[in-house]
């Protein structure tokens, strides 16, 4: 029963994704390519590429793997499998944190953890920058995006569209 397999394996993958979706990409590859043979190796590379060019979380690529394995029903099943349990846990956390927010331990935990969470976002920014900033031109795009986001009310969506267009049109001309 392939739908049940898809659901169970994607649920297991999601439960091991400590720190976020990127933490289980290699596990996702091992299970969907080598163990269950839902997709071929070159399909998996496309799966990750698709995840990057579409909005939303990287694990939405589960829909692609599920589709390759079992059509539309497979796409829906894999998507529910990979998001349902972590989502339930987070809403449960929201509920519990609200109940106990006055407890000194929870207050202390939140105080100490908040700066760490900000620091973690710095890791993401660093990784993105390392990939994107191949030369000075992309550094200018990043700097302009930062200035616009920090000092103006320009919509982030417009900044993203602008960066993509500049990269696509001017990038190849300037950098060969």
């Amino acid at each position: 029963m392939i739908l049940l397999e898809l659901f169970v394996y994607f649920a297991i993958i999601s439960m091991l994704a400590f720190g976020g979706g990127n933490a289980v990409i290699s596990l996702l590859e091992r299970i969907s390519v080598e163990q269950m043979r839902w997709v071929a190796p070159q399909d998996f590379a496309a799966a990750i590429g698709f995840a990057y060019i579409t909005p939303g979380p990287i694990l939405i690529t589960s829909a692609f793997i599920g589709y390759r394995a079992a059509g539309f029903a497979g796409a829906v099943t894999a998507t529910i499998g990979v998001f349902l349990i972590p989502w339930s846990l987070s809403v449960l956390a929201a509920f519990q944190v609200r109940r106990y927010i006055q407890h000194p331990w929870l207050q202390g935990f939140g105080l100490g953890a908040a700066p760490a969470v900000i620091g973690l976002l710095g890791i993401t920014a660093f990784a993105l920058g390392r990939y994107a900033i191949a030369n000075w031109f992309y550094a200018v795009i990043a700097g302009a995006a930062l200035a616009l986001a920090l000092f103006t009310k320009v919509s982030p969506i417009l900044i993203l569209i602008g960066g993509t267009l500049l990269g696509a049109v001017v990038g190849p001309i300037l950098t060969g």
């Binding site: 995006a145 969506i157 190849p172």
Partner: protein
């Protein structure tokens, strides 16, 4: 905020959340904290703190967490469905057309993807500044933020462990994250909520 409003706002966020968690947070910070003021920067950091400890896609969990804050379980469900729907439909279209586009992708897309990612990185740094201002208020907080960033980059330490360690540090010495240690003046005891900056 009504549930239909919540639905459309998260459809919009889901449509534009290129580049994963960073842009998702930037859009939430822009639409829900700055524009509509239904959440504070501290709420967003709180959602990140507790979802980072749980396994799974952090973006979806932050949306679920904040959706619950805005509209209980129905709000959490609606916000998350709306957030995922655009990405799911796009992936579905790409899946159906896969054979046709697999060849064309690759080299042609790289400069565009680089430009997009550079913009994402810039926007994310602005978001780090906005979320960081109320979260990093003492020298100890600054040390924790820099240490978490450096340890993650240099040793690829798992984010969940870093958050856990910093949280335990906060339980043991909460005053180092609330007091202005340079001047020695006592900051007011933090509550769960605070006014928008």
């Amino acid at each position: 905020m009504s549930l239909p409003q919540l639905w459309w706002l998260f459809i919009k966020i889901g449509l534009a959340a290129f580049g994963g968690l960073g842009v998702t947070l930037s859009l939430i910070e822009r639409y829900l904290v700055m524009d509509r003021r239904v959440l504070t920067a501290k709420d967003v950091t709180e959602a990140l703190t507790y979802t980072k400890l749980l396994p799974g896609s952090t973006g979806v969990q932050v949306v679920g967490y904040l959706g619950y804050r805005l509209g209980g379980w129905p709000g959490a469900a609606l916000a998350t469905l709306a957030f995922l729907l655009p990405a799911f439909l796009l992936i579905l279209i790409l899946s159906v057309l896969y054979e046709e586009i697999a060849a064309g992708l690759g080299n042609a897309a790289t400069p565009a993807l680089r430009g997009l990612t550079a913009a994402v990185a810039g926007i994310l740094v602005a978001t780090i500044y906005r979320l960081g201002k109320p979260a990093v208020t003492t020298p100890a907080g600054a040390v924790v933020a820099v240490a978490a960033c450096a340890l993650g980059i240099a040793f690829r330490m798992n984010p969940a462990w870093l958050v856990l360690a910093a949280g335990v540090f906060g339980i043991l010495m909460p005053q180092s994250f609330t007091q202005e240690q340079i001047s020695g003046t006592e900051a007011p005891t933090p509550k769960g909520e605070s006014a928008p900056q």
